[in-house]
C-alpha cells in the first residue's frame, strides 16, 4: 500500500508529484473503456518519445494514483516519466482532478453499473459537472458525443473541449436495447429520438422536446467495417488529417476507445501519422479479447461488466463462425458491483438458439444459471461450476479440439481467471502488461 502510506505522510503528495510531470497529466474516466483508452494513449505517446506514468489497471481510486506516482519516483522525489496517464474511477474524478491539474480529461461513457457504490447515474453526472466547473480553463475536456449524458456534461464545460463520435448509421443495432440507461432527455424529460443506436444509449440522438441534439464531433469514425473478433476497420477523421485505420480491438465500444485516445493524443500534439500507425499495432489487454492458448486450443476472454457491454460482447461472440463453448463467470465483489440484478437486463436470450454448451461460474454462478433458465435456454446445455479454476477446466473439456472457447467474466472473475492461467504459465504476469 505505498499509495495509502504516502498519502498519510504527505497529503499534498499527489499534487506535488504530479506537478513534476513535465508533459502534464491526462485523466481517463467513465464506466467502460478506461483501461483500453489509457493504455492506447500510453502506446501512442511512447512512439512520440514520451515516457508515460500509468496507474495499474483497476487501481483507479485516489490511492492507486498516489501509488503510481510514488512507485515511479526516485528517492529524491524525481519522477521517472514525463506524462501521467491515469485511469480514474468515475466517482473519484472530483477528488483527484484538482490535485492532478490535468491537461486533458477524457470522458468515455456513463452506464449504470455499480449503482450500489455510487447511487444513481444522474448523481455521477452531477459530480462530474461540479468537478469540471472547478477545473482550470487550461484543462481540455475530451468527451463522447454519442453518449447523451456525457455529451451534456461535456458541452456544459466552459474551457476547451473536443467531442468524438461515430458517424456511420450502419453500426447501429436498430432499436434502443433494454439495457439503455438514458432514454429521456436530461434537460426536458422528453424521450430521445435516435437515428441510429450503436449499443446501450450510445448513438445518433436528438430531443424533439427542447431541441438539444448530439454535438457535432471533431474526431470521427466513418465507413466502419466490423471484422468480428479480429477487430474493426474505419476511417479516422480529425482536424489534423484523415486516414483509414484498422484496430485489433473488436466491437463498436472499442471504436469509441480508439477515438478517445486519438483525440487525447492530438491534444498532446502527437503527429497524426504516429497516432494512426500506433492504433494498428496496439494489442488488447488481458480480458479485452486477448486470445490465450489453453490445452492446445484457443480461448478468447472478453470482459463483460454491465448490460450494454455484455450485449455487445454477446453479439461479437455470436458473429464468429463455427462451433463454440461459452463460459460466463459472474462475481459480486465491490469492483464488480455487489448487486447482480443487472444480469436480468442483459439479453441472454441471444444464446437460446443453437446447442452450444454453456458453463456458468463465479460467486454468483447459480444466479447466472437461473437467468439462463428464464432466457429459455435448455437446462441440458448449462453446467454450473462455481469455482473458476474448475469451471475453466469443464469449459475446456467441453470445447475439445473442435470448438472455440469464449470466456465472459466480470472484472474480479477476470482477475481470478488470469491468476489461474498465470499459475499454469499461460499468461504473462499482471504487472508486466
Amino acid at each position: 500500500m505505498p499509495g495509502r502510506v504516502a498519502q498519510a505522510i504527505e497529503p499534498g503528495v499527489v499534487r506535488r508529484l504530479a506537478r513534476r510531470l513535465s508533459a502534464g497529466v491526462v485523466i481517463v474516466t467513465g464506466t467502460n473503456g478506461k483501461t483500453t483508452t489509457s493504455r492506447l494513449i500510453s502506446h501512442v505517446v511512447q512512439a512520440a518519445g514520451l515516457t508515460p506514468v500509468h496507474n495499474r489497471a483497476g487501481a483507479n481510486l485516489a490511492t492507486g494514483i498516489a501509488a503510481a506516482l510514488v512507485q515511479h519516483s526516485t528517492a529524491q522525489g524525481r519522477l521517472r516519466g514525463d506524462l501521467g496517464v491515469f485511469e480514474v474511477d468515475e466517482a473519484t474524478l472530483p477528488v483527484v482532478s484538482g490535485p492532478l491539474a490535468p491537461r486533458s480529461i477524457v470522458l468515455t461513457n456513463l452506464f449504470r453499473d455499480q449503482l450500489d457504490r455510487y447511487g444513481e447515474i444522474d448523481i455521477v453526472a452531477g459530480r462530474w459537472q461540479r468537478a469540471l466547473s472547478g477545473a482550470a480553463g487550461a484543462t481540455a475536456v475530451i468527451f463522447n458525443a454519442d453518449d447523451p449524458l456525457v455529451a451534456d456534461v461535456g458541452t456544459g464545460y466552459g474551457g476547451p473541449r473536443v467531442a468524438f463520435g461515430i458517424a456511420d448509421v450502419s453500426c447501429g443495432i436498430g432499436v434502443v436495447e433494454h439495457a439503455a440507461d438514458a432514454r429521456y432527455c436530461y434537460r426536458c424529460g422528453s424521450r430521445y429520438v435516435y437515428d441510429a443506436v450503436f449499443f446501450g444509449h450510445m448513438g445518433l440522438y436528438r430531443c424533439d422536446g427542447c431541441g438539444w441534439r448530439r454535438p457535432e464531433p471533431a474526431v470521427v469514425a466513418t465507413d466502419v467495417r466490423m471484422l468480428g473478433i479480429e477487430g474493426t476497420e474505419f476511417t479516422l477523421q480529425t482536424p489534423a488529417g484523415t486516414q483509414r485505420v484498422r484496430t485489433p480491438l473488436p466491437g463498436v465500444y472499442n471504436i469509441h476507445n480508439v477515438l478517445a485516445a486519438s483525440a487525447a493524443c492530438l491534444r498532446l500534439n502527437v503527429p497524426f501519422e504516429t497516432i494512426t500507425r500506433q492504433i494498428g499495432t496496439f494489442t488488447p489487454a488481458f480480458g479485452r479479447a486477448e486470445a490465450v492458448r489453453l490445452n492446445g486450443h484457443q480461448a478468447v476472454v472478453l470482459l463483460a461488466k454491465n448490460p450494454a457491454g455484455f450485449n455487445e460482447v454477446l453479439r461479437t461472440v455470436l458473429r464468429e463462425p463455427g462451433d463454440r463453448v461459452v463460459m460466463i463467470a459472474i462475481n459480486d465483489l465491490t469492483a464488480d458491483g455487489r448487486d447482480i440484478s443487472w444480469l436480468w437486463d442483459v439479453d441472454f436470450e441471444m444464446l437460446a438458439p443453437g446447442a452450444a454448451p454453456i458453463v456458468v461460474s463465479g460467486l454468483r454462478a447459480e444466479d447466472m444459471a437461473l437467468r439462463l433458465r428464464y432466457a429459455g435456454i435448455d437446462e441440458a446445455r448449462v453446467t454450473t461450476v462455481p469455482s473458476i479454476a474448475a469451471g475453466l477446466d469443464a469449459a475446456a473439456m467441453a470445447a475439445g479440439p473442435a470448438r472455440r472457447l469464449f470466456v465472459l467474466p466480470t472484472y474480479t472473475a477476470m482477475l481470478e481467471l488470469r491468476r489461474v492461467l498465470q499459475k499454469r504459465g499461460l499468461v504473462r504476469r499482471f504487472w508486466e502488461q
Binding site: 450500489d116 429521456y184 444459471a369 469455482s387
Partner: protein, 267 residues
C-alpha cells in the same frame, strides 16, 4: 411435464406500469418470472405495457407491476400515477387483484415520498405508509438482504436493496417480512415491505421474483383467484431457483457460495 390445472381460467392478464421510467435493477426479470411460471403451467399470459398518459381501464388486469426508478423518473411517474392510473389501481385492490411494486414504485403506493431535495411526491395511498429521505448526506441503504415472511409460511425472501428513502408503516399496513440480514424499510424497526390485502410493496430487487419462486407463485395464484376462487397452481421443478435462492442466502451472510458448496460440478 404434465400440468394439472384446477379451474377453468386460462389467462393471466398483467399490466406493467411505466416500463420505460421505472425499470431499474433488472425489474424486467420480475415480468419474466411471472410470465414463464404461468406459461410453464399452461396458463396464457398477456402483458400490457402502460406508460405516461396511457389510460388504464378498471377491471382489465389481474396483476399490476411497478418497478424502481431514479428520482427524476419517479417524479414523472408519480403525478401520472395519481392522475391517470390511481382509479384503476384502487379498483384492483378492491376486487382482490394483485398490485406489486418494488423500490421506487413501492414508495409511490404510499401516502407520500419526501425526497432529499424538492417537493414531496404524493402517492396513491394504497398502502398505509410514508417515506422520507433524510437528506443528500445521509447514507443510502445498500446491500444484500434476507427477510422472513410470515405471510408465506415463514419462507425466506432474498434480494438486494438500494434506497435512500426511509419508509414507516402506518397501522393498517403489515410488513411483508422481518429483516434477518440487511436494512429493510428504514434500517431501524426490522420491518421490510408492506402488504395490505393483495397490494404488495418491497425494497427487494435482485430482481425479486426469479429467486423467490414461493412469492412468485403466491402472487400468480392470488391474481388468478381474483377471478376464479377455485384456481390451484400445479407445482414446478424449482431446482435452479432453489440453488440461486440458497446461494443468495449464503452471500447475504458474507459467505462465498462457491466455497460453501465446494468446487463440485452440478447440473
Amino acid at each position: 411435464m404434465h400440468c394439472v390445472i384446477v379451474g377453468t381460467l386460462m389467462e393471466l392478464r398483467i399490466c406493467h406500469l411505466y416500463p420505460d421510467l421505472l425499470n431499474l435493477y433488472g425489474d424486467r426479470g420480475n415480468l419474466m418470472a411471472l410470465s414463464a411460471r404461468a406459461r410453464w403451467r399452461g396458463i396464457e399470459v398477456r402483458v400490457d405495457e402502460r406508460g405516461l398518459h396511457d389510460a388504464v381501464p378498471s377491471g382489465g388486469h389481474d396483476l399490476y407491476f411497478l418497478g424502481g426508478g431514479e428520482d427524476r423518473q419517479q417524479r414523472l411517474a408519480a403525478q401520472d400515477l395519481r392522475e391517470s392510473k390511481g382509479a384503476a389501481l384502487r379498483d384492483a385492490a378492491g376486487r382482490g387483484a394483485v398490485v406489486l411494486a418494488v423500490c421506487g414504485g413501492y414508495q409511490l403506493l404510499g401516502r407520500y415520498y419526501r425526497p432529499a431535495e424538492g417537493e414531496d411526491l404524493l402517492g396513491v395511498g394504497l398502502l398505509d405508509l410514508t417515506t422520507e429521505h433524510p437528506g443528500p448526506a445521509a447514507q443510502r441503504l445498500i446491500g444484500n438482504i434476507v427477510i422472513r415472511s410470515a405471510l408465506l409460511g415463514g419462507a425466506t425472501l432474498v434480494g438486494f436493496e438500494n434506497h435512500g428513502g426511509r419508509t414507516r408503516l402506518g397501522p393498517s399496513a403489515r410488513p411483508l417480512g422481518v429483516v434477518l440480514s440487511g436494512y429493510g424499510n428504514n434500517g431501524e424497526d426490522r420491518t421490510e415491505g408492506a402488504v395490505s390485502g393483495h397490494v404488495y410493496g418491497t425494497y427487494l430487487h435482485g430482481p425479486l421474483l426469479p429467486k423467490n419462486p414461493v412469492l412468485t407463485d403466491h402472487l400468480i395464484g392470488a391474481a388468478l383467484r381474483s377471478r376464479d376462487p377455485e384456481m390451484v397452481l400445479a407445482p414446478l421443478p424449482d431446482r435452479v431457483e432453489t440453488a440461486a435462492h440458497n446461494a443468495a442466502l449464503a452471500r447475504a451472510h458474507g459467505l462465498y457460495p462457491s466455497k460453501a458448496s465446494g468446487t463440485g460440478v452440478h447440473r
